[in-house]
């Protein structure tokens, strides 16, 4: 028998919370008492998140339809619903971002904080009091993190959520992007849109791409029989450009619809960002 939920204070006053597949790194700045209250609230809220989600897991793993009942499930549903018309999506596409958002909400509801960040495996919810900012590092391959750029998120910006998706990450992807990083109004919106854009970076039928049924690896994956990427062989510069263009078109649509604020797409060492990007600086 082993501990289910784990909580530990990390150097720098950060709090690490883990329960089943959920893994959070939380940081908060403010007066010491307020930070203590916020971390206590985070832990308290975290205690039954997994139970809450699992109570309606079958609904959350099915294509977006009727609204679920849990608060986090509703965040997931609201973040994925705008994309249902585009194709297959389940609320699970926003689970990481929605959990981060909910824990952040519990913290800011319990204490006055200068800044706070809840990082759920790369899907991050931010709190910024007026006059504060966060500097965010960008990586292109989640399995081999190396900094390739950074973004400054100031309190004046509308960005409060950041997410990265790609086939090398912890979740399955239908596309071949190494990483798609999205800045959005909320972490759940960022999570859902990063998934959608990463799926759209693709070269259907390409012989160098290895795909397997999602349920052949994880029998209860919400992607079921759909083919997920598990290997990408050498691609020509032209193929890379074509794949990135596919994802980029979707990203521009989402930008116009106000569902994302900024993004960066990475594939095989190439990067695409929107022309008038303000937030992603120094992207190689």
């Amino acid at each position: 028998m082993t501990a289910r939920m784990q909580a530990a204070l990390l150097p720098g006053g950060r709090l690490h919370l883990n329960d089943g597949p959920i893994d959070l790194i939380i940081s908060a700045d403010g007066e010491a008492v307020e930070v203590a209250l916020a971390l206590a609230a985070a832990r308290g809220r975290f205690a039954d998140i997994l139970d809450e989600l699992c109570a309606e897991l079958p609904l959350l793993r099915a294509p977006v339809a009727a609204p679920p009942s849990g608060v986090i499930a509703l965040r997931m549903w609201a973040a994925t619903r705008p994309h249902a018309a585009r194709g297959f999506i389940t609320p699970m596409a926003a689970v990481a971002g929605a959990v981060a958002e909910e824990v952040l909400a519990a913290m800011t509801g319990a204490a006055r904080l200068e800044r706070a960040a809840v990082n759920n495996g790369g899907d991050i919810a931010l709190h910024l009091a007026p006059g504060t900012s966060y500097r965010i590092g960008l990586i292109d391959r989640p399995d081999k993190p190396s900094l390739l750029g950074s973004a400054v998120i100031a309190s004046t910006s509308a960005v409060r959520g950041i997410a990265t998706s790609g086939w090398r990450g912890r979740s399955f992807s239908l596309g071949i992007a190494d990483a798609v990083t999205v800045l959005a109004r909320t972490a759940s919106e960022a999570d859902a849109t990063a998934t959608i854009i990463a799926n759209a970076v693709d070269l259907p039928g390409h012989p160098a791409i290895i795909r397997v049924r999602a349920d052949s690896i994880k029998p209860d994956s919400d992607l079921r029989h759909r083919l997920v990427t598990c290997g990408v062989g050498p691609l020509t510069p032209r193929e890379i450009a074509t794949a990135l263009a596919g994802g980029f078109a979707v990203a521009q649509d989402l930008r116009r619809a106000g569902l994302i604020i900024d993004c960066a797409l990475h594939l095989a060492g190439e990067t695409r960002v929107p022309a008038q990007t303000e937030l992603l600086e120094a992207v190689a």
């Binding site: 028998m1 082993t2 501990a3 289910r4 939920m5 784990q6 909580a7 530990a8 204070l9 329960d19 089943g20 597949p21 007066e31 010491a32 008492v33 930070v35 203590a36 209250l37 971390l39 206590a40 609230a41 832990r43 308290g44 809220r45 975290f46 205690a47 039954d48 997994l50 139970d51 699992c54 109570a55 897991l57 012989p207 290895i210 795909r211 397997v212 049924r213 052949s216 690896i217 994880k218 029998p219 209860d220 083919l227």
Partner: protein, 492 residues
């Protein structure tokens, strides 16, 4: 290219958390912590074997890599002790405990019955070395808004919390039980807990660490109450000062009235204290509890003094006011109208204030796990559980928790306490009931075990256990006595 479908029969269901993943052979679940290996659910944290290592040497045995086969290392009989950590449970315990291990100690067959007990009746007693007021006695203590325990009686220099217990674990809402369990687990495994007390403090505590109270790390515990401090330091003061007031939330001491002052011939100073006089020179309730001087709410120490008696006091009278930790201090001299005027602390007195600080021990949070071994757990050990209880009471059977010594509470049942820092890392676990899982081992001579109605057919040799289980080897913690030593008690 597309991988072909795999047969559906190679997957198992993991019940470690409510996600209840189906996991295929060779794959992990959503958490990457549980895996399917050849149809068996395996986890990444293996069974712990304590190894006796040379105390002062560097001969610390590294973890046995659970991913590899046993390396063939010979396990010396009495040098290895199988703990219950990771042994697994058989709740409800109709079956014998998971590991009944024989090892030879000094030519005598010893049996260690090892099981991870599920404790619904359990909790922790937390001792927090601080004079700061954490909250009124009986006040609810909360984690994440849920009540997980209460403030209990204050001890000498320390505040005490009683957390957990069956009422919070299973008697309240599902969330209350869950949060209580997580809090106990965190504290037992040496992790931190953030707690709030109704009408009191916010604190972050973890076993063996200094408590953080209202955002400030506590450094020292008081040397004694105000009266005791007078007794300890009176002799060092009398040459340099006419009056000393040691401010304390419990008993505030006044040198000139105190027995110690009288004994040393200290002259009356005409000082008039507020609060209730207990015996000469000792005052209760000079202020309210708080985060100020000596655990009171005082920020201005003069607030506890009434005007000096003009018949006895004199202009130029020198007075030191100091808290029981030396953390707060101020030096005054009376002016012509007998009003105390704050002055620079003279060097000799500064030294005595330092001395008070020096004598205050580092403030720590200490956590004792307390739980009761239920009938079914005992049945896993012998066919006649009451005989085990009797054998433990008569000290014929040694009880340990993860190899650490325990205190078995007198009276009925096997209710024990153990300092959580004396167990190997992450020794405690959890079941969704919710209840805590704690390791418990019973060690006794094989002949005695047979006499108790032990499950003799289930006994394995130590070598067998070491070979068959995925064991993690760890040195015995700190100065814990070796569980298999026959030691001073004469029996194990």
């Amino acid at each position: 290219m597309t991988a072909t479908d795999q047969p559906a029969t190679d997957k198992i269901r993991c019940d470690a958390c409510p996600v209840l993943c189906y996991i295929r052979d060779g794959q992990t679940g959503a958490c990457d912590r549980y895996a399917n290996r050849g149809g068996a659910l395996v986890r990444t944290d293996p069974h712990v074997l304590l190894e006796r290592t040379i105390r002062d040497g560097r001969d610390v045995v590294s973890f046995h890599d659970s991913g590899k086969d046993w390396d063939g290392r010979v396990v010396a009989g009495s040098g290895t002790f199988v703990t219950a950590i990771g042994a697994g449970t058989t709740y409800p315990d109709y079956k014998p405990a998971p590991f009944i291990v024989s090892s030879e100690v000094d030519g005598m067959d010893m049996v260690t019955v090892v099981t991870e007990g599920i404790f619904s009746y359990c909790g922790v007693k937390v001792k927090i070395d601080t004079d700061r007021h954490l909250g009124p006695e009986c006040a609810p203590v909360r984690a994440g808004g849920e009540q997980v325990g209460h403030v209990t009686t204050t001890e000498y220099g320390s505040q005490m919390l009683s957390l957990g217990g069956v009422r919070h674990l299973t008697g309240g809402s599902k969330k209350e039980g869950r949060v209580t369990c997580e809090t106990l687990l965190a504290l037992c495994n040496g992790q931190s807990a953030e707690l709030t007390v109704d009408g009191g403090a916010v604190m972050t505590i973890s076993a063996g660490q200094a408590p953080v109270i209202n955002g400030a790390a506590e450094e020292r515990m008081r040397v004694g109450c105000g009266s005791a401090t007078i007794g300890m330091f009176a002799k060092q003061w009398i040459a340099h000062v006419d009056e000393v007031v040691v401010v304390d939330d419990h008993i505030t001491g006044v040198l000139s009235e105190h027995q110690a002052g009288k004994f040393l011939g200290v002259r009356d100073t005409g000082i008039k204290m507020k609060g209730h006089r207990s015996t000469p020179g000792r005052y209760f309730k000079v202020a309210h509890p708080g985060a100020g001087w000596g655990g009171t709410d005082l920020t201005d120490p003069l607030a506890i003094l009434k005007p000096f008696d003009a018949k006895e006091a004199w202009p130029g009278l020198r007075m030191l006011m100091v808290s029981t930790t030396g953390e707060h201090h101020a030096y005054f001299e009376l002016d012509e109208r007998l009003t105390p005027i704050e002055m620079q602390l003279p060097p000799a007195l500064a030294q005595s204030v330092e001395r008070i600080k020096e004598n205050c021990e580092p403030a720590l949070t200490t956590v004792l796990f307390m739980g009761g071994a239920g009938g079914s757990l005992r049945a896993g050990v012998t066919e006649n559980p009451v005989l085990l209880t009797k054998s433990v009471k008569q000290a014929l059977t040694r009880v340990t928790a993860g190899g650490a010594p325990v205190y078995v509470w007198p009276g009925g049942g096997i209710t024990f306490m153990v300092d959580v820092t004396r167990l190997p890392a992450n020794a405690f676990g959890y079941v969704p009931t919710p209840a805590l899982v704690a390791p418990i081992e019973f060690t006794l001579p094989k002949a005695d075990y047979e006499a108790l109605g032990g499950h003799m057919g289930q006994i394995k040799s130590l070598a067998e256990v070491a070979r068959s289980s995925e064991a993690r080897r760890e040195p015995q913690v700190g100065d814990n006595p070796w569980p298999l030593d026959r030691g001073k008690a004469g029996r194990p």
